[in-house]
Amino acid sequence: MNEVKNKFISHHIGSLLKEIFGSGTGIITFIGAAILIFFVILAIFAPQIAPYDPTVRVSRSLKPPSDEFIFGTDNLGRDVLSRVIYGARIALTIAFIAVLIAAAIGIPLGLISGYIGGILDRIITLIMDAIYSFPGLILAIAIAAVLGPGILNIAISIAVVYAPTYYRVIRNQVASIKDELYVEAARAIGARNIVILLRYILPNVLPSVVVVLSMNLADAIMTEAGLSFLGLGIAPPTPDWGFDLSNGQRFVLSKAWWGLLYPGLAIITVVLGFSMFSEGVNEYLNPTIKEKR
């Protein structure tokens, strides 16, 4: 999520990486998984790994990197390394919750809309298209501004932006398989609609849901970083990469490059990790949703 592109970052990066590595998707997936596992471990074991408490002053302000503080200290004298490690918690938590909520909104609507069709389908599609066409970050900002800070609130703001993606994928797939023979057979033996939807149709669209989920994570990370950079994330002093960069201009003016460099590198690495991993998932599940832009 940079302003301009907060949808399908993974997809773009993934296809580029595939060009570079040729057909060797295995290695991309492996590196991606390694990066992700690394950051998940950082997030879970942050109290054990981080050398200092990320929220308290441990030294004088803006100390350059040294043996004592490998990544230096920030403007409030807090250890940058510890803040980067703890920052993985917020970033990953919000990203995961956000994509799950997006899926929880998009999937049921997609199922119903695709299966029932008709005027209801038209209306839901129109609404979803309207949301989809709107600049994602602005939408997330507006919702976050209303809901206020907090992990769940930020996750919801991000989820609303991405729900239409799930909706589109599911709706189109359901619309195309609801006339398949096995669905008709189920209907012929008297299965109720709800049973047909959940037992016959849902399992067939789940693989593409997994692909979209995994691709969506990088987007969610970017959007979260952007929101918290704007001060719409979780409340300070909780460590958060985007929020730590919102102090940026102070670091710039005092030439404290270490305060900028490391949170930014963390965001970039995680985005790349998710992109690589999702490219592997994409390949493995071999979905029918290839034609994204």
Binding site: V4, I13, L16, I20, L126, A130, I138, V146, G148, P263
Partner: protein, 335 residues
Amino acid sequence: MSLKNYILTRILLAVPMIIILLAFIFLILRIIPGDPVLAMLGGKAPKEVIEQKRHELGLDKPLPIQFFDYFFGLFKGDFGKSTLTGRPVLDELKERFPATVELTLFAFVIAVLIGIFGGTEAAKRKDKLPDVLARFFAIFMYAIPIFWFGLMLQLLFGVMLRWLPVAGRISPAIQFEPITGLYIIDSLLRGNWKAFVDVVKHLIMPGTALGLVISSIFLRMVRNNMVLVLSKDFVKAAIARGIENKSVLYRHALKNALVPIMTVMGMQLALLLAGAVLTETTFSWPGLGSYLVLKIRYRDFPAIQGAVVFFAIIVVVISIFVDIINAIVDPRVRY
């Protein structure tokens, strides 16, 4: 379908889109936890004052009525009043818009130039060094948060090398009366050379940061489309006729490759005009994006709503234009 009919249909189709977007924005900003009036007046205001304010703002009416009031207000150019400044939101937006336009156009030109030339070169030498470099460039630009990129540029060019200013549109020391609000044009119209240099200096860093990040999208699209077009028969025929390489590339192939890309470029322009929020915040650029962030900080909900609605209108209007231009260039588009 004739062009005229197409344009008419396209405009009519945009109407439900606009209504839905407006309703959506309206609803979102009405689910504010707590009361907008309380937020405005503070928790300790007496009950009568609160009631009176509610009545003044029309908040005691049923929700659908409120929406219709707001909707028809928009038609009359009434975007509501800022609770922070008490001024009409539309006036404030109009003041801010030129800054966003200037930044956007600068960034857009950079992005298009890099996209077209870089993409064409990469396609010409497919899988060779330029193509590989272009890929790494694009990956980097996709994975990078723009505010971080902007801050790093500020650190390098603003503070360490001291080449460019790190924030704002113009130095406060420079006396200068704007005409159109686009400072580059204004400074030239006034013949104020010093102001012109200052304005350009302020524009270079945010414009380039934004332009580079968007260029990756264009670069990839141009490259992929060019690879496709270069394998077509008419290109081979042109080469066989002995037409110069450069001419084949830039006149015959590019023209065909650009048609599908134009839509994406147009939409990108719309998204940018809807406030490059992060770039503007990073560089303290006084445009629409930083306006939105400022108003959010003060919980000025009428202004937030006005700004978001303004963005929605920009996006829809530009997308109509893009489709129409597309229909003129490529008659197959007209349904």
